[in-house]
Structure formats: C-alpha cells, structure tokens
C-alpha cells in the first residue's frame, strides 16, 4: 500500500506572524518547520503501510526557497521519499492553486492508494486544500477523520461531525484529512534523522508539473485594507494569596450569573 502525505512547512508558530508589506500575504522567508498538525498524518501513513505489510510513504510539499527542513522531519519519522514544489511564481498562491499544485505533485508520484493531509495548516488555516485536492484528482474523500483503518481494501473512518461522529466507508484510492490527536506521532530516532539526510527529495517547479501558477494576481481577490483590531484591554490581575477564589466569586456575582 502506497500513501502520500501532504505536509506544510511553516514559520515557527511560537514566533509572531507578519505580513509582507508589498503583497499583504504572510511572510514566509524565515526558517520553516514541519507544521505540527502534519505529524499526525505522517504517523497515520506509516502505521497503515506497516499494517498492510508493504509499500511506502511519500511526502509532498510546496514551499519557497527550496526549503526541506520540515520535510526532513517527516522523512526522519520513516517516510521514504518526497517531492518539493518550489517556485517563486507560486508565491501568494491561494488555496485553489495550492490544491492544483499538490494534486499534480501526487500524480507525478504515480498517485497512491491513499492521500493524507491535516485538516488545515496552523499558519494560513484556510482549511479547504485537502477537499479541493480530492476534487482536482477526482477522488472520494473523508475529511476530519479521527479514526482510520483499512479493512479488506476499504477505508473505514470515524468522521468528526457537529453532533458526534459518523462512521464512513470509502473505496480506495481516496483522500482523507486527519484531525490532530488521531494517533501519537513518533519522535524521529537518531538513526532516522541520519537516514533522512540522504533520502531523495525531488525539487520541481510549477511548470515541471504542468500547472500554470495563478499567483496572487490570479487569485480573484486582493487584500485592500489591513487594520488593527480593537484590542481587548487587560483587567485586574492579582497574585493568588490563597483567597483569590473569592475575587472570582465576587466577579461572577457582579455579573449575576450565580
């Protein structure tokens, strides 16, 4: 069984984000790391391939400046190879273009039995790329999967809903997006980290994939105003002296909620 995992390499979420003054798109020129949300998909893929008794996990990613640091983390966890799409013409690409690019990268790998993505990235969080990719590839999809297994060539997943969850069965090949916490991602071993350095990552451009980059101008939308939101003011801050619970009680009483 072959599985492709889509991963995003993002600026460290612990650092404050910033917009590029010229294009009003997210600045992504610093060091990038593997989006935490993607570690779950990588782990899920490795477990499914293990359970199937054969096959491999491939990683695809789109990032500026030939960045592979985040992909290497996925390779260190156990993925076999990867494709990085890196092309200045793709800067400012919207979710639809990203989906087309990743779909073409998946096709370059010859497709897979299963494509896995996170539900949304931690930096842009548009949250539509996996489902858009499935549509581009003409695949069925199960989004927001929180439990996944393959049983007799059929994917069986529990899909998060507003009220609870649905059990869903899906023919393969298919695409799924997995929620955080779906599995416990392994830490790359030292051996894995060393091995990842020599695993093949093919770097391609949009035109290698036959995708015409729409870029920012082609997105059908443009940012016309960036403003600071009205900031919430901090209120009273007190050090707990053992009696501070009384402050909370008084606060709630004052609001007449107790």
């Amino acid at each position: 069984m072959n599985v492709i995992v889509c991963v995003k390499q993002i600026p460290d979420p612990a650092l404050p984000g910033a917009l590029d003054g010229a294009t009003n798109t997210l600045k992504r020129d610093g060091k990038l790391i593997l989006d935490d949300s993607d570690a779950y998909g990588v782990e899920m893929a490795l477990q499914l391939v293990d359970a199937a008794g054969g096959g491999e996990v491939s990683i695809i990613s789109m990032a500026p400046n030939g960045e592979t640091a985040g992909m290497r983390t996925a390779l260190a966890m156990g993925a076999a190879k990867g494709i990085l799409v890196s092309d200045p013409a793709l800067q400012g690409s919207d979710a639809l273009t990203t989906a087309k690019v990743l779909a073409a990268a998946a096709q370059r790998l010859g497709g897979a039995d299963l494509i896995i993505a996170a539900t949304e990235s931690s930096d842009g969080y548009t949250g539509t790329v996996p489902e858009q990719m499935a549509e581009v590839l003409g695949l069925p999809s199960v989004t927001f999967a929180k439990k996944v297994k393959i049983d007799g060539g059929v994917l069986k997943a529990d899909r998060q809903t507003e009220e609870g969850y649905d059990e869903v069965e899906c023919a393969l090949p298919a695409l799924i997006s997995v929620t955080a916490g779906v599995v416990e991602p392994r830490y790359p071993s030292f051996k894995g980290i060393m091995a990842a350095k020599s695993k093949p990552v093919e770097e391609v451009t949009a035109s290698d994939l036959g995708v015409t980059p729409a870029g920012w101008a082609g997105a059908g939308q443009k940012v016309t105003l960036v403003a600071q939101a009205e900031a919430r003011q901090a209120g009273e801050i007190v050090e707990d002296d053992g009696e501070s619970f009384g402050k909370i009680v008084a606060f709630l009483e004052n609001l007449k909620v107790i």
Binding site: G17, S141, A229
Partner: protein, 321 residues
C-alpha cells in the same frame, strides 16, 4: 459589481435549521432581496423557518442516502449554476460540511475561496470581506475581483440571527448529479455524542482547561466547575492533542468559536490558536501560574496562581451557595 443574488449553504439538525444557517440568511438578506438557501436534505420541515429569516427559495437535494454533503451538495450547486441560475455570492458556515461543500465547489467553478471571515459588505461596485488574522489582532479586508460567484465561509456567530417575518421559502428540487468515483464514500452509521448541559458553542458560561492542569484526571475539576455554573467544559488544543478530552471540546482556531458571557481559562497560557476561539467572550477570567502568560493580556480578571489550589476552593465556595 452589484449583488443581485445570494445563496446560503443551509444545514438542518434535529428538524430545524441550524443557528449558523439563520445567521447567514440574516446577513444575506441585508445584501440582496434575492436570497436562496441550498440544502443537502429534505426542506419540507424548515421552508417556513428559512423564509422567516430571509430566504425566498430553497433548493433541496432530498435525502442524501449516505452520500457526504461535500461532493453531493457541491455537485447539485454546480448543476443549478450550469442550468443558468447563477448567484453572485455564496455564503458558507465555517464548519465541517460547509468547508467541504465550499472546497469542492471552488474546483468545479475554478473560483478562489475566502474562509474564516467575520463580515461581508457591498461598497459600490466592490464586495469586501473581513477576516481576522494573527489571532484576531489584525483585520484584513479582501476585495473580490472578476466575476462571481464569490465563495466565502464565515466563522460561527459572525452575525446575529434575526427573523424578518418573510413567507415560507419556495422549495425547488436540486438533483445530485452522478458523482462517479468522487461519490465513493458512504456514511454507514451516525453517532450523536450525548452531553448533559448546554452545548459548548451555545453555553452562557464556558470553563476551559489547558496543559496547566498537569494531568488528564485533573480535568474533572473543569467539568465540575462548568456543571456548577450550568456552563459547558472546553479545552485548549494542547490537551486535546494529548488525548485528555475529545476533539469536540476544543476551543480555538481549529476547534469551536465560543462567545459566552463568561469564559474561565484554567491553566491555559493563551496561544494565538486558542485566543482566536474565545476572545469574543464578554468577560474573561484567567487562572495561570505564569504571570507573563498571554492570556492575562485579554483577561478581565486574572489570577496568577496554581489552578490546583484555586479551582478546588472556588468549587467548594460555589457548592456552598
């Protein structure tokens, strides 16, 4: 461009239209007098309600027979548009089904999407959507260019749902076309997670716990406090990822957006990802050991202290009332 026709992706739960649907219809009718709801399911029970909030018409697919709404409803929408009824703007709720339908339709129409928005306005010829970024510190206005339909998803509670007293929406059948391979997923069982007390995103009081609780079984304090206050328990992503509580408890960018009267954050430092989901609360109480924690920057009452000491005393005090 002027907005002549607006569609709303409508959802139904327990036989009534969801609050999110009514919020979007309320907004839609302020933009156009020609508002159409599109529903994956049977509309006969909710046509009156949809009309009351502004829809003049509802396209309904009828029972989806286990098909997932993402492929089925987007397919039906595309068929209607190809048939000549083309809206200028389609509003989606930012939730599981809303995002799936939006995503599939965007590919079918080759149109960009805008998600996580909180407002949309027509200004002369421009259609502008407002989207908060960086945890809501910054508001970005995006103007759509070119021809519609413009596709936008809105966070829950972006608009207040208000009835306008309109006549029942006229029901029109929307056929789901042959989905081919994309229709390969089927729902085989539906599970409703029973929860006592109010729903997280509707509760007047929300008590959330985070990593500061230290270990999974300490979350019981959060549940007990929520119960005492007749509120709902919530959680930060950190403890959902750690498996302490189910994903449905998660408040934040990747979880639920809550706007209660009172939000109590216990042992939550206030990562951007979390604050996005709760900074709309009217009153925020934060308890955290680290006085530098970002959560104190937005708290109306901040207690710098150990949740393991403060919460039990608070619970005792409330029990004694």
């Amino acid at each position: 461009m002027a907005i002549n026709s607006v569609w709303v992706f409508a959802q139904v739960t327990n036989g009534t239209a969801t609050t999110g649907t009514l919020e979007l219809l309320t907004k839609a009718r302020s933009l156009s007098s020609n508002v159409t709801a599109v529903l994956g399911g049977d509309a006969s029970g909710i046509a009156a309600q949809l009309g009351e909030f502004g829809a003049t018409k509802v396209y309904a697919t009828g029972d989806l027979a286990g098909k997932l709404p993402g492929v089925a409803v987007s397919g039906a929408m595309k068929a209607i548009i190809d048939g000549g009824d083309k809206p200028d703007l389609i509003l989606f709720p930012q939730n599981y089904e809303g995002r799936d339908v939006l995503a599939r339709l965007s590919v079918k129409l080759n149109k960009s999407v805008l998600t996580n928005s909180i407002d949309v306005a027509v200004d002369g010829d421009a259609v502008n959507a407002t989207t908060p970024i960086f945890g809501g510190n910054t508001l970005v206005t995006t103007t759509f260019t070119g021809e519609g339909p413009y596709l936008v998803a809105f966070r829950p509670k972006s608009f207040a749902a208000e009835a306008s007293g309109g006549a029942p929406a006229a029901i029109a059948a929307a056929a789901v076309p042959d989905l081919g391979a994309t229709g390969g997923a089927k729902v085989t069982a539906v599970h409703v997670e029973e929860s006592t007390g109010p729903k997280l995103d509707e509760a007047n009081i929300v008590v959330s716990g985070g990593r500061g609780l230290g270990e999974a079984d300490k979350y019981a304090m959060v549940e007990e406090l929520a119960k005492l206050l007749k509120g709902a328990p919530g959680a930060s992503r950190a403890i959902v990822d750690a498996g302490w509580v189910p994903y449905s408890y998660q408040v934040g960018q990747t979880g639920k957006v809550v706007k209660p009267s009172v939000y109590i954050a216990a042992g939550i430092s206030g990562a951007t990802q979390h604050m996005v989901g709760m900074k709309g609360a009217k009153n925020i109480i934060a308890i955290n050991k680290d006085k530098e924690a970002p959560i104190f920057g937005i708290a109306d009452l901040g207690i710098v202290g150990d949740v393991h000491k403060v919460l039990p005393k608070l619970i005792e005090a409330l029990k004694g009332r």
